[in-house]
Symmetry: C2
Subunit: 259 residues, 2 copies
């Protein structure tokens, strides 16, 4: 590690999002900050990449902080790829994504652009953390979140992360004094029960809005949902080897080669 | 299981893609087929959902087969959500996605709209398989692939899948007689080495095309890359609990709650 770590910062809410600006403030205290973030909101983009169209990426100045910033038309994953492979002269020491406006706990990790950016950095061999605050409000208060963002990031800069693992950190919407601490958790087994809102356009064409409710039937006290509901910051180690190793033997026993 | 299973079919190359049409042909032999697929190509969409705009979804007739079909402006994941929660009267018995034009082996599983559709079905409790042929050509020959698609799908209809697991099946670009059979594998540890193509528009604005090369340093003979390179169909069990359970103890030992 150099004296001052090179910190790549990104998000999925866009480069002007208050959550990103709060994150940059904290990171400026910890190292040399380089921001490559979407020029517009990219929530729910999952691990999308821009394969079939062009990507713009230009330097931009948003405030008078010491960080260097680029805004891109690409997805959060594109932003990480551009930063690491095109714009930066050396590999970042760590990549921090967020602070997301809204939860990325449990199954939301899969839909989340914030977490996909962190996962992409992980794939490229960079220690990475995604931070999310359980408050969708654009005017959310990030004060308590900033304390935990700093504490966790410092720890990871110092110790690194196990190979093939990135962190998904969610912070409850509570005052600093009411947060009980950090818990290392597993992802709760939950899903979204969709309830599409079907409408008709002024031209008589039917269309849908995606909406739904989050269903968690996992009562485990070792889950992120439990931690958050009980006043803790949840920290889930996330991997990108998706192989269900435990299922290999079972599948072999099915005899797929038999007709 | 009813006498005739209800089979939900989708993909990411779009409803007119030859790979999807080949898949429908096979599925019509196995059950009642219901197609909800994107109205335009959605490759590389990962697990993206349409959270901030409207989604169109209309019935369409493309050929004179017995299947019912809907084309949607949404992502592959949107298509599965629409089918399961809005359009179908009952839960499908199985969801099949593909046949993708091009590989979704190794780390490609994470970027793949084809596999994300299958994963979404898995999250909703439906046995699901994504099929991909290692041939990007729109005029690819799907004859050998169809044999394996049928064989594997029949097995899964009969036996189901372990909970929380979907299948990622890749088929080598070989004649049927040259394919050696099916191997249950793990995802090879590999990544894309990006090499952005930087250009200038006629208006003088800089832009990028994403391009790169696939780098596999994983020499394991139990990987999907090994199987495909050696003439086998690869079958990887994929999970959507992304928790790196093995890392929890290690992370606990770092003492995140200490300043």
């Amino acid at each position: 590690m150099k004296d001052k770590p090179l910190i790549l910062v990104t998000n999925d809410d866009g480069i002007t999002a208050p959550g990103l600006r709060a994150l940059i403030e904290v990171m400026n205290e910890l190292g040399d900050v380089f921001v490559v973030a979407p020029d517009s909101p990219q929530s729910g983009m999952g691990h999308a990449i821009t394969a079939n169209s062009t990507i713009y990426c230009n330097d931009i100045t948003i405030d008078d902080g010491p960080q260097l910033e680029y805004a891109s038309s690409g997805t959060p994953v594109d932003c990480v790829k551009l930063a690491v492979n095109e714009i930066l002269n050396r590999k970042p020491d760590i990549c921090i994504s967020g602070i997301n406006h809204g939860s990325n706990s449990s199954i939301n990790v899969i839909y989340s652009g914030t977490m996909s950016a962190a996962v992409e950095a992980g794939i490229e061999g960079i220690p990475a953390i995604g931070f999310s605050l359980l408050d969708y409000d654009w005017e959310a208060n990030f004060d308590a979140a900033k304390k935990y963002v700093k504490q966790i990031t410092k720890k990871v800069i110092k110790h690194g992360l196990p190979e093939g693992v990135v962190l998904n950190v969610n912070i409850p919407k509570l005052k600093e004094k009411d947060i009980k601490g950090i818990r290392v958790c597993r992802q709760a087994k939950a899903y979204w029960q969709e309830d599409f809102d079907k409408r008709t356009s002024p031209q008589g064409k039917q269309y849908y809005w995606l909406s739904g409710k989050f269903v968690n039937r996992d009562k485990g006290e070792d889950t992120d949902e439990w931690a958050l509901a009980n006043g803790y910051v949840s920290l889930v180690p996330v991997m990108f080897d998706l192989t269900a190793h435990h299922a290999i033997q079972k599948l072999n026993s099915l005899g797929f080669n038999e007709k």
